[in-house]
Amino acid sequence: MKTEVLVPNLPESVADATLITWHKQVGEPVQRDENLVDLETDKVVLEVPAPDNGVLEKVLQQNGATVTSGDLLAVINIDKSATPSEDTIDQATEESPAQALSPAVRRLILEHELDSNKIPASGKAGRLTKNDVLDYIKTDVTVSEQATPEPIVTTKTPPPNVVTPGPAPTPATSDSRPEQRVPMTRLRARVAERLIQAQQNSAMLTTFNEVNLKKVIELRRDYKDSFVKKHQVKLGFMSFFIKASIEALKRFPLINASVDQRDIIYHGYYDIGIAVASERGLVVPIIRDADQLDFAGMEKQIAEFGVKAQAGRLSYEDLSGGTFTITNGGVFGSMLSTPILNPPQSAILGMHSIQQRPWVENNDVVVRPIMYLALSYDHQIIDGKEAVQFLVAIKESLEEPSRLLLNI
């Protein structure tokens, strides 16, 4: 009995997806729920699981193909053991056809350091043809233009970028100065391209300030238990920063705007992106209408995003849009950095590590928990004065949290 594997329903706003890579080849046995193929949309990589145990009989879309909801991806023969019956003419022999590589295929695989198991085969009995490999090479290198960027915070220890495993690197040479040439993974290459674009399409500058977080820390310390008791979620720092940012954004709406060619688009809402580390790298889920949420609401969203990110389960909607981004390199130990913009946004706030530092209060030198803040902004629409004042507003709200209460 044969069963069809279809492209799952894509999120509403997504027209199509790109087939990144097949994890199974024609003729290979598959298990129920085993991941067959990765489909990539703007933001997320969707996995398509096998509906049942069987043998993958036909692959109808190749790497790099554009597919939409409901498209036929593959056909699986259910309940067939790995050894096909004698009836089929094109049957695998003891040596799987996948291993029987033709000379041209062998040459290409050697030259490009490919894994033949990852390349969809269209040849007789599941064999790879030269064209299959050429197509695979082409689409593996092509960068998807629809992807949004993922801001790379320059920290001392970059987050682990565990994405679709790339090709095996060349073995180290036998001399004492070995080198490894590893082509970029698809995701990496995409991110790289978008980052360069971000820099080229904006006049990016960074302004810095420092904030004394004593009062915030005290607030947290005093109320953390009752907060958890009431709201079932911990009171972190992020909610303070989001609140402070929003109040500042209200005062400086230009920071919340985007550039579109020669137009400035002022957004009448506050969708704040929070950069979080995940298995696949840095992702930026969006807290929508963050101005409508209270501290607990924000903390809950952040916690939820954290869990989803770790599980690779952030949806397309979670990652789309955003008017302003906050990134926190402090969790990795960054003292100070220049975050990169998240296009089409015009500004991004960077948080860093909190250090006890000498501070002057009332002409005395005291020790206070200090965090350096960085605001990178697009000078095309935001002038230095605004950027600085914006950052000062955030600093002031954080140093005196009661201002958030009183809206001053």
């Binding site: 009836d87 033709s102 041209a104 269209s122 043809t129 030269k130």
Partner: protein, 483 residues
């Protein structure tokens, strides 16, 4: 004993290359099989193998071999330092040799039928309905009788098309069979039709000393062969003394006691030519007339071919038709593959044929063989292609063995490098093409061919080098500037 109609699982009508292969395959699959065939040999005995064996490829190949030998001895032995004072030709013996070859091959098929327990019936047959076949034994004294079966495979082949302007009389105006049995070498031989069959006849008799003139009414000489190969072939044929009149339509023939006067027209004007014998080889039509009784309702198309689906089944369930009886290239191996298909479908297997990778051969000297698409066809579809050509004059083995005539031409898709067509003109073309067919079956690229080791010296090295020539990196010809 009560005579009820004998029952078979399968009855095959026709023991040509399609029919006898179908019968053997049926027997291999455990089906009780009978095969009815009516070809009577010269010795009045049943001769199996149909047109293929009796009047087509096999006698042509045999006679061509004799003719080549004659030519080699009379013209080419001198360069080897072998002097032959006078080589005489005894056509009767040559024909007898050919007949002996046919007889032994026919006997071989008969033995195969025997060992496979296939009942071979010498007679004609007619399909009465899907499960009943009426047999008319050749033996005139025997009465017609009925046979019952579960399945029928129709394989009655084709016959030469007759034209009004030159009606076949079996004496001066003849078709293939008679042309394979001339008692002497015609001094002047006319052939109407410069297609595959006409050229094969021309090759034989020109070598034996005939002055051969071919008349072809079509605008396109060998239109289905790659143009570049055709050009090469024409040059070679002209050197051999073949006179091909293109766009020449024979309008009438007049017989005299000793000759045939041909009247023909070409775009310029009308002409006349007298010949001693005239072969009509304008085409072949399927032998579907009287194949089935009217009540059987066997569906034929407007050209007389039996209508079949992609499993060779006719409109009558359980009745299959194969070979020249159905549409498609009239090739022995195509019919044989269909015979195997039908047998396997009857025994319950799922099968399908794909016709794109079937070799074609014209048994002239040198032979022409090809598989896949021609350059002119690919260009007309706009497919981007690359071409690699290697002449046998640069092949060591060809030079050593006197086979340095012709070339290999490979066409591949420009980007994927997949082999789309291979064309060979050379005395050994019919053998060399097999490698190309295999490569195309596996969707191979020219690089695959180029990276496969070929024995050196060998003629197959020419394919190897042609594959390299695709990327202008053949070793034994200078690099091409126009690449």
């Amino acid at each position: 004993m009560k005579k009820s109609p004998k029952h078979y699982d399968v009855i095959v009508i026709g023991a040509g290359p399609a029919g006898y292969v179908a019968a053997i395959r049926c027997a291999q699959l455990g089906l009780k099989t009978a095969c009815i065939d009516h070809w009577t040999g010269k010795d009045k005995q049943h001769s199996m193998g149909g047109t293929f064996l009796n009047a087509g490829c096999i006698p042509a190949l045999t006679l061509l071999e004799s003719a080549k030998l004659y030519r080699t001895i009379t013209e080419q032995s001198a360069i080897h330092g072998i002097r032959v004072s006078k080589a005489e030709l005894d056509i009767a013996e040559m024909i007898q040799h050919k007949d002996e070859v046919l007889r032994s091959l026919s006997d071989h098929i008969a033995q195969l039928f025997d060992s496979n327990q296939i009942d071979c019936i010498f007679g004609t047959a007619q399909l009465m309905d899907a499960k009943i076949v009426q047999v008319h034994p050749i033996e005139k004294s025997s009465k017609a009788y009925l046979l019952e079966c579960d399945n029928v495979i129709l394989a009655t082949g084709s016959s030469s098309v007759d034209i009004d302007a030159a009606r076949i009389d079996g004496d001066k105006i003849v078709e293939s069979y008679t042309a394979m049995n001339f008692s002497s070498v015609p001094k002047r031989l006319g052939i109407i039709g410069a297609g595959v069959i006409g050229l094969e006849h021309a090759s034989i008799w020109a070598r034996l000393g005939s002055k051969v003139t071919l008349f072809d009414a079509q605008n396109d000489f060998l239109g289905f062969v790659d143009d570049q190969i055709v050009d090469e072939a024409l040059k070679i044929y002209s050197k051999q003394g073949l006179d091909i009149r293109f766009r020449a339509r024979v309008t009438a023939t007049k017989k005299t006691p000793k000759s045939v006067r041909i009247e023909y027209e070409d775009p310029d004007s009308s002409h006349q030519l007298s010949v001693d014998k005239l072969i009509v080889a304008v085409g072949r039509k399927p032998n579907s007339e009287n194949l089935a009784s009217a009540e059987a309702n066997l569906l034929l198309d407007e050209n007389g071919f039996v209508h079949v689906d992609e499993q060779c089944m006719t409109n009558l369930p359980g009745v299959f038709a194969i070979g020249d009886l159905v549409q498609g290239p009239m090739l022995a191996h195509k019919g044989a593959e269909e015979g195997i298909l039908a047998a396997e479908v009857i025994s319950g297997k799922e099968r399908s044929l794909h016709y794109s990778v079937i070799p074609n051969v014209i048994y002239t000297e040198p032979a022409i063989a090809w598989v896949g698409q021609t350059e002119q066809h690919l260009r007309s579809t706009g497919e981007p292609i690359k071409i690699g050509i290697f002449p046998f004059s640069a092949n060591a083995c060809a030079l050593s063995t006197g086979k340095s005539i012709g070339m290999v031409k490979i066409i591949s898709q420009k980007y994927s490098d997949q082999i789309l067509g291979v064309h060979i003109i050379n005395p050994c073309a019919s053998e060399l093409i097999a490698e190309a067919v295999l490569a195309m079956e596996f969707s191979a690229s020219t690089e695959d061919l180029a990276r496969t080791v070929h024995a050196h010296p060998s003629l197959s090295k020419a394919l190897h080098e042609a594959a390299m020539a695709i990327d202008n990196r053949a070793l034994h010809i200078p690099p091409s500037e126009t690449h």
